[in-house]
Symmetry: C2
Subunit: 124 residues, 2 copies
């Protein structure tokens, strides 16, 4: 089983790496054969290289993440509520998201799923 303290640390490292614009550091939190589904229902990114490319694209928006409330730790899952903040065309925009991370015994993320949809987009 993964370690709860390391799982929470991974979530905080994820937010920090995203906000620093480091797709490498984000991808390093994932297992080599991990999957990312963002949002739920979108095509799934398989493997660390595809995941890195996905985040590199997302970071080009200049978006920053803010955790909203405590990270929930349950078995081999972490779940966390956060908001994505970005600005373009002179307007501030926000997306409210909940992510779930499933971890392996090496405390790597093996499955990420992002829960958000049109109703969670503000200012668009």
């Amino acid at each position: 089983m993964p370690d709860p303290a390391r799982m929470e640390a991974a979530v905080r490292a994820y937010v920090a790496a995203f906000d620093a614009g480091s797709a490498d550091d984000v991808a390093a939190l994932y297992a080599a054969d991990a999957t990312v589904e963002d949002p739920i229902g979108a095509p799934i990114h398989h493997g660390r290289a595809a995941i890195r490319a996905f985040y590199a694209g997302a970071m080009q928006t200049g978006a920053k993440l803010r955790l909203d409330g405590p990270v929930r730790i349950a078995g081999d899952y972490a779940a966390f509520a956060f908001s994505v903040h970005l600005e373009y065309d002179g307007a501030r925009r926000r997306i409210d998201v909940i992510d779930t991370f499933r971890f392996n015994a090496a405390n790597e993320v093996v499955e990420m799923r992002a829960f958000w949809g049109p109703a969670n987009m503000t200012g668009f």
Copy 2:
């Protein structure tokens, strides 16, 4: 596919029915063959009768729920952060939880998963 507005309404009805102490009203939000896993890793409750019994027990604690932030709607899922507030032995206690609900085309919950663990319990 379920309807986003009805999914969000179901989440709000869930909180209201729980706080009103109506296990019947909570169970009525579920499909007949639904599953409830609360928390992740605990034995799964199968079917509306078992689900009703689970909630009737939970309500005996006098716990009340408070949504923390917007309900996220993604495909056939709703995800929401909330806190559980209860009092016993003269102390106020809190648990921070994230739930995911998966819905069927009739806008009934077919799968509930609750993400919380020891690190999310305050005042115990």
